[in-house]
């Protein structure tokens, strides 16, 4: 398959879904309790948001260079 420009929407939603799965698994095997979610959820969302922002900005840069 040919590689294309970063698709930011796919990236962000893919990371969110994997993050939700990971959090559920951690709670299920009792590594992290329900209270741990109060920390994990914001950390997850902020890091995914930053990843999306960085991807968008780098995409805009490459677009401008063309």
């Amino acid at each position: 398959m040919k590689r294309h420009d970063i698709d930011v929407a796919s990236l962000v939603f893919g990371l969110i879904f994997l993050g939700v799965s990971a959090m559920w698994s951690l709670v299920e095997v009792d590594v992290m309790g329900i209270p741990g979610l109060e920390v994990a959820t914001p950390v997850l969302l902020v890091s995914i948001g930053l990843a999306g922002l960085i991807a968008s900005i780098s995409r805009m840069r490459t677009k401008q260079d063309d």
């Binding site: 590689r3 970063i6 929407a9 796919s10 990236l11 893919g14 879904f17 939700v20 799965s21 559920w24």
Partner: protein, 474 residues
């Protein structure tokens, strides 16, 4: 700028083609438009929405979201898009983030109604239903403006108001090569028409009507424009939009034809989900304890991986809708219970325990309904130490304890509400409460281990429950 719209047609495209109806309008036309798109009676959707509104107000939030996010008939941008991206170039990112934000708000609102639980389940069913019906709508000729622009010679859909075709041409024809091919003849035929009004659609339409006999279906379009303009849509201020559209049709020459469904990533991922769920089901039946939500989360994980691959290779945006659906389902599935082994027999009874010998030694299990343990007449001495272990699937579990006994309660609900003396807890809860009664320490010890998947647990002192007990007897 608009490259996003060239992605394969998915639920997103279906949602973007939604319009609030002008003909079927009670409030803002949200349900009328959705019903038109789905090809069902708006009354059905109205009933569903009212039901959703009664159970936790979710229906109201969904309607409000639709009002803000779905463009009005004949317009290409919603109220929210106009407010946020005023004059902005691409309205789409704004729509996506607005939809995500409102989705979160709906989720939080639903979270507030977990004590009933019903609202959440209905919400999940409603979202799933709409998505499924939109997908199904792809197989039959769509009833929206695509029919007007893509199927030459076919009479304009009687369900779709002709006014809509214009807004949708503006909205979708530009980035979509299929539509472009069909739209261009119309633009050309406009060019063929008398030179005195080259870009004035109203003028074109007026000219086209008398000359209509030897023209092809594109003229039918023009005729319907004039007909609409004369009857249902007399407001002239909307016409300038169409000028912009006509100019735009001439501009874009697609550099290379974009294949509508060039990627199999979405279908490959969903197939992988099916295979994985099947394997998990085999593992489950082989004896491993797989929680109900485990299935949903496994699907969510694979959808997430598919989307990550789609970030760089292939197209997988259609998976976003599936992932959101799985997330919505995962939440109640997690809260409701750890396994699917539920006792679902109906029960409605009172168990009275007046003497020590009547106290059950084994754990008691109940199905669905109202179960009431009345221990109010049970006499305990200071040396007595008894325990009750009760589990129930759905309903109300009420325990009435003797006035003076020292009681320790360990209660847990998957989704519900616990009232233990003066303590209250709601949601996915696990609480421990100790209450010594009116006489302080002494008078025997009673330990209650209670668990209820869905519903309400109530623990009361006999003197408090007396009045209520009298009422129940009558």
């Amino acid at each position: 700028m608009n490259e996003k719209t060239s992605h394969e047609a998915g639920v997103g495209d279906d949602l973007r083609s939604l319009r609030r109806s002008r003909d079927e309008r009670l409030l803002a036309g949200v349900l009328g438009g959705l019903a038109q798109r789905l090809g069902i009676d708006p009354v059905i959707l109205r009933i569903v929405t009212v039901v959703l509104a009664i159970f936790g107000g979710v229906g109201i939030m969904i309607y409000a979201a639709g009002w803000l996010l779905i463009p009005d008939d004949g317009e290409d941008r919603s109220i929210a898009e106009k407010a946020i991206a005023r004059g902005g170039d691409s309205p789409e990112p704004a729509t996506i983030w607005l939809a995500a934000g409102l989705g979160l708000a709906v989720l939080l609102a639903a979270g507030g109604t977990f004590s009933s639980g019903v609202g959440t389940v209905l919400l999940v069913l409603a979202v799933a239903g709409v998505v499924v019906m939109l997908r199904r709508g792809d197989d039959v000729p769509p009833r929206d403006a695509h029919a007007d622009t893509t199927t030459d010679g076919e009479p304009l859909g009687s369900d779709a108001p002709e006014t809509q075709s214009h807004g949708d041409l503006l909205n979708e024809a530009q980035p979509d090569p299929d539509l472009l091919d069909d739209a261009r003849p119309e633009a050309l035929s406009d060019g063929d028409l008398p030179d005195d009004a080259p870009s004035d659609v109203a003028g074109v339409a007026d000219d086209a009507v008398p000359a209509g006999d030897d023209r092809d279906s594109t003229t039918t379009d023009a005729m319907s424009f004039s007909g609409t303009a004369a009857t249902a849509w007399p407001d002239p201020p909307d016409w300038p939009d169409s000028d912009v559209g006509l100019v735009d049709f001439d501009m874009p020459e697609p550099s290379k034809p974009v294949k509508r469904s060039g990627s199999h990533l979405g279908s490959v991922t969903l197939s992988a989900v099916a295979v994985a769920l099947g394997i998990l089901a085999i593992v489950d039946s082989a004896g491993a304890a797989v929680p109900a939500a485990g299935y949903v989360v496994l699907a969510l994980t694979i959808i997430g991986l598919g989307l990550l691959i789609g970030t760089w290779y292939g197209r997988s945006r259609g998976l976003i809708a599936w992932g959101l659906l799985a997330t919505f389902i995962a939440l109640p599935a997690t809260l409701v219970g750890d396994t699917l082994d539920w006792d679902l027999t109906g029960e409605d009874r009172t168990i009275t325990i007046d003497q020590l010998v009547e106290v059950p030694q084994d754990a008691a299990s109940h199905g669905m309904g109202r179960v009431r343990y009345d221990l109010s007449e049970l006499e305990l001495s200071d040396t007595n130490d008894i325990a009750l272990e009760i589990s129930q699937t759905v309903g109300a579990l009420q325990i009435i304890v003797p006035p003076d006994v020292d009681v320790t309660v360990n209660a847990t609900t998957g989704m519900g509400h616990i009232v233990a003396f003066d303590e209250q807890a709601a949601g996915h809860q696990d609480i421990t409460v100790t209450d010594l009664g009116s006489d302080g320490e002494g008078g025997g010890q009673l330990t209650l281990d209670l668990s209820l998947q869905l519903g309400e647990i109530t623990i009361e002192r006999a003197d408090e429950a007396g009045a209520e007990g009298q009422r129940a007897l009558r």
